[in-house]
C-alpha cells in the first residue's frame, strides 16, 4: 500500500477531557481523560460496568438513550464532538472516525450484500460513483484478507463466518481511511485462532494507513499484544494509565496489579491457588465515596474516603489514582 511508514507520535488525534456520562442521574463515567496519539494504539481495559464501553460509544455519540454526556470534551483533531450537531457528526462517522463492535453479525445489515456495506461510506462521504466505490471496496476486502472478494462481496452476512464478518466490518470502518478507529471488544466473540488473525490485521492496517486505534477490552493478553498505551478503568474512572511496558512491569495501582495477578498464565505454576480480588464489582449505585476500589482494596485506609487524583508516577506518562502507590509492595 504505502511506501513510507505513517508517523506514530504523541500528537493527539483524540483527546477526551474530563468526560462525564450520566444514567439516571448517576455518574457512570466520572471525569475520564484519555489521549490517543497519532498512529498509536490505546487500550482501555477494565471489567464489566467500569464504563469503558460507554466511553467508547460516547466518542461518536452512539450512547444508548438512557445515557447522556453530562460534561467534558471529546476532541477529534481539535474539534469537539461532544457539542457537534447530529448532522455534522454524520459527516464524521465512518469518515474521520469509525467504530467496530464485538458482534459483527449484529452490526452488519442482514439484508444488504456485504460489498455494498463496505461501499456505503465511500459513496456517502466521498461521493464516488458506484463503479469507483465498488473497485475500492473490492480492494479493501482483499486487503483485510477476504479470499475471492468479487464473489464474497455479493454475499449476505449470514453466508459468512464470524471472523469473515469482522473483516467486513473492519473493511467498512477503514474504507475512508479514518484518523481514528474505535474497536469495542473486537475479538471477544471470536475463536482464538481467528482473534489472532484479526488482531494481526488491525496492527497491519495501523502500520499502513496510520490510523490511531482505541481498543476496548477486558483481556490483558490482548492489551499486551496490541497496545502502545494503556488506560485501566474501574468504577467509571481511569485509575491508571501509561505506556504498555510500564503498566505490565511496574503497575502503580493495586487494582491493575491484582488484575494482572489473578489471571492464570501459560508460564505460571500449574494448580497453584490463584490470586483473587475480594468481593464483587459493585453496582453503579453502590460505589463507595472517594476511591471507588477501596471496598475491595487490600491497602485501603481512611484516607481513601477522599478521591485520589490521577497523579504522575514518572515523567513518561505513567499516572495512577491511588493514595498508597508507595505501599504496593505489601500485596506483592
Amino acid at each position: 500500500m504505502m511506501t513510507e511508514t505513517p508517523p506514530r507520535d504523541w500528537t493527539p488525534v483524540l483527546a477526551i477531557k474530563d468526560l462525564r456520562i450520566q444514567i439516571g442521574g448517576l455518574d457512570v463515567v466520572d471525569g475520564v481523560s484519555l489521549t490517543a496519539g497519532r498512529g498509536r494504539i490505546l487500550a482501555v481495559v477494565g471489567e464489566s460496568g467500569c464504563g469503558k464501553s460507554l466511553t467508547a460509544l460516547s466518542i461518536l455519540r452512539l450512547l444508548p438513550k438512557a445515557a447522556r454526556i453530562a460534561g467534558g470534551r471529546i476532541e477529534l483533531e481539535g474539534m469537539d464532538l461532544a457539542h457537534l450537531s447530529e448532522k455534522d457528526l454524520e459527516d464524521i462517522r465512518g469518515n474521520q472516525a469509525s467504530i467496530i463492535f464485538q458482534e459483527p453479525i449484529a452490526s452488519l445489515n442482514p439484508l444488504m450484500r456485504v460489498g455494498a456495506q463496505v461501499e456505503e461510506a465511500l459513496r456517502l462521504h466521498r461521493g464516488l460513483s458506484h463503479a469507483e466505490a465498488q473497485r475500492e471496496a473490492l480492494a479493501m476486502l482483499a486487503s483485510v484478507g477476504i479470499p475471492d472478494p468479487q464473489n464474497r462481496a455479493r454475499q449476505y452476512p449470514f453466508e459468512l463466518s464470524g471472523g469473515m464478518c469482522q473483516r467486513v466490518m473492519i473493511a467498512a470502518a477503514l474504507i475512508c481511511r479514518p484518523r481514528l478507529l474505535i474497536a469495542d471488544e473486537p475479538t471477544t466473540a471470536l475463536d482464538v485462532t481467528i482473534q489472532a488473525q484479526i488482531l494481526d490485521l488491525m496492527k497491519r492496517l495501523r502500520d499502513e494507513v496510520g490510523t490511531s486505534i482505541i481498543i476496548i477490552t477486558h483481556d490483558m493478553g490482548v492489551v499486551a499484544e496490541m497496545a502502545d498505551d494503556v488506560a485501566v478503568m474501574y468504577g467509571g474512572r481511569v485509575v491508571e494509565r501509561g505506556p504498555v511496558d510500564t503498566i505490565f512491569a511496574a503497575p502503580a495501582h493495586p487494582y491493575t496489579y491484582l488484575l494482572l495477578a489473578t489471571v492464570p498464565r501459560l508460564d505460571g505454576r500449574r494448580k497453584s491457588t490463584l490470586r483473587t480480588i475480594e468481593g464483587i464489582v459493585p453496582g453503579v449505585d453502590q460505589w463507595p465515596q472517594g476511591c471507588r476500589f477501596r471496598s475491595r482494596c487490600p491497602l485501603a485506609t481512611d484516607v481513601c474516603a477522599r478521591r485520589p487524583s490521577l497523579d504522575p508516577v514518572d515523567a513518561i506518562g505513567h499516572a495512577a489514582a491511588c493514595w498508597h502507590k508507595d505501599r504496593l509492595r505489601e500485596i506483592a
Binding site: 485462532t193 499486551a224 499484544e225 491484582l258 501459560l266 490463584l274 464483587i280 464489582v281
Partner: protein, 328 residues
C-alpha cells in the same frame, strides 16, 4: 464397584451425528469417533474452538444429546443409551455446570430451593434437605442466609457458586464443567477456579472441563484433549502438551493466546493460521486440519491420520509429526 486403576469414565469411538432435514439431506458429524478416559480424581480438559464438538461430547455423556454410536462407560457400566429412569438414577453420579449461571437458575426460585431441587427429585425429606442445603452453601463459600434470596440479588460469581452447590447436592463423582468461568468477570474467575480446585481436593471429584481458554486449562487440567472438527487431533498430560505441543493445530492454538506480558509477547514466535474452520457439513476427506495446515504434505488430503505416540509424551494425529510406524 470400580476396579482399582480402571477409569471412572471411559469413552470409546463416540459418534454424535445430526441429520440435516430438507431436500439436501446430509449429516453433521459433530463428534466423529473419539475415545478418552477420565481417571478417578483427575481433571480432563476438552479444548478446541467453536464447532469442534467439545460441548456436544459433554452433552452426549450426560444424556442431553443422543449418541449415534460408540460406548460410554461409567464405573464399567454402559451409559450411552439409558432409558429415562436409569438416566435419572445416574444423576447422583454425574452432574453438569453450565457457562451462564443466570440462565441456569430459575429467577423466581429462592437459592435454597434451587440447590435443594435435585434432592426433591431423589425423594429427600424436608428437614434433611434443609440441612444439606446449609452444608452446600458453606461448601461453596456462601452465607447461609443466601438460601432465602433469589438469583437477581446475587452477582455472577455468587450465582455460579450456587450452580456448583446444586451440582454437588447429590455428591456426584464426576462433574462436567462447560466453560464454567467464561461468563464471569476477570476478577471473579480466579475465585471460582480456586473453589473448583479446592472442592476437587476435598471431595475427590473428577472433572471433565470444557474450555476454549487454554491458560485456564493449563492451570487446572491433568490431561488435555484437543479437538478439531469432531475428532481428537492431540491428547496428553497437560505438562507435556503445553510444553511441547506436536500437532500443528495445537501449536497454533497455544501460540494464538496472547500472553499478558508485552515484552514476552513481542519476542514470541507466533503461528497465524490462514482461513476459517471448514464447514462440518462438508469436512475434508483426509486430515480435518488439512485446509489450514502450514506443514501439510501430499497424502494429508486423502489419509485420515490416527493418534500415534510422539516423543514429547503426547499422542498426535498427524502424518508429518506422528507418522504411523511401519508394521514389522
Amino acid at each position: 464397584m470400580t476396579n482399582p486403576g480402571s477409569p471412572l469414565l471411559s469413552v470409546r469411538d463416540l459418534k454424535i451425528h445430526f441429520p440435516i432435514r430438507g431436500s439436501q439431506g446430509g449429516v453433521v458429524k459433530a463428534v466423529d469417533g473419539i475415545s478418552f478416559d477420565i481417571p478417578s480424581g483427575r481433571t480432563v480438559a476438552l479444548v478446541g474452538e467453536s464447532g469442534c464438538g467439545k460441548s456436544t461430547t459433554a452433552y452426549g455423556i450426560i444424556g442431553l444429546e443422543p449418541v449415534t454410536s460408540g460406548s460410554i462407560q461409567f464405573e464399567g457400566r454402559e451409559i450411552a443409551h439409558l432409558d429415562k429412569q436409569s438416566r435419572r438414577a445416574l444423576a447422583t453420579d454425574i452432574q453438569i455446570v453450565f457457562q451462564d449461571p443466570s440462565a441456569a437458575l430459575n429467577p423466581k426460585m429462592a437459592i435454597g430451593d434451587s440447590i435443594g431441587e435435585p434432592l426433591v427429585i431423589q425423594g429427600w425429606r424436608r428437614d434433611k434437605r434443609k440441612q444439606r442445603v446449609r452444608e452446600l452453601l458453606d461448601l461453596v463459600g456462601l452465607p447461609e442466609a443466601y438460601a432465602e434470596r433469589t438469583p437477581n440479588a446475587l452477582s455472577g460469581g455468587q450465582r455460579q457458586r450456587v450452580v456448583i452447590a446444586r451440582a454437588l447436592a447429590l455428591s456426584p463423582k464426576l462433574l462436567v464443567l462447560d466453560e464454567p468461568v467464561s461468563a464471569l468477570d476477570v476478577s471473579i474467575r480466579s475465585q471460582i477456579l480456586n473453589l473448583l480446585m479446592q472442592l476437587q481436593k476435598e471431595l475427590g471429584l473428577s472433572y471433565l472441563f470444557i474450555s476454549h481458554d487454554l491458560s485456564v486449562v493449563r492451570h487446572l487440567a491433568d490431561d488435555v484433549i484437543v479437538m478439531y472438527l469432531g475428532t481428537v487431533v492431540e491428547e496428553g498430560g497437560a505438562e507435556a502438551l503445553f510444553e511441547a505441543p506436536q500437532h500443528p493445530y495445537t501449536q497454533a492454538l497455544i501460540s494464538a493466546i496472547p500472553l499478558p506480558d508485552p515484552k514476552a509477547q513481542r519476542s514470541r514466535e507466533r503461528i497465524i493460521l490462514k482461513g476459517d474452520l471448514p464447514s462440518p457439513l462438508n469436512p475434508p476427506t483426509g486430515c480435518p486440519f488439512v485446509g489450514r495446515c502450514p506443514i501439510r504434505i501430499e497424502p494429508c488430503g486423502n489419509i485420515r491420520p490416527s493418534l500415534q505416540p510422539v516423543a514429547s509424551g503426547t499422542r498426535a494425529a498427524c502424518l508429518v509429526r506422528a507418522p504411523v510406524p511401519l508394521a514389522a
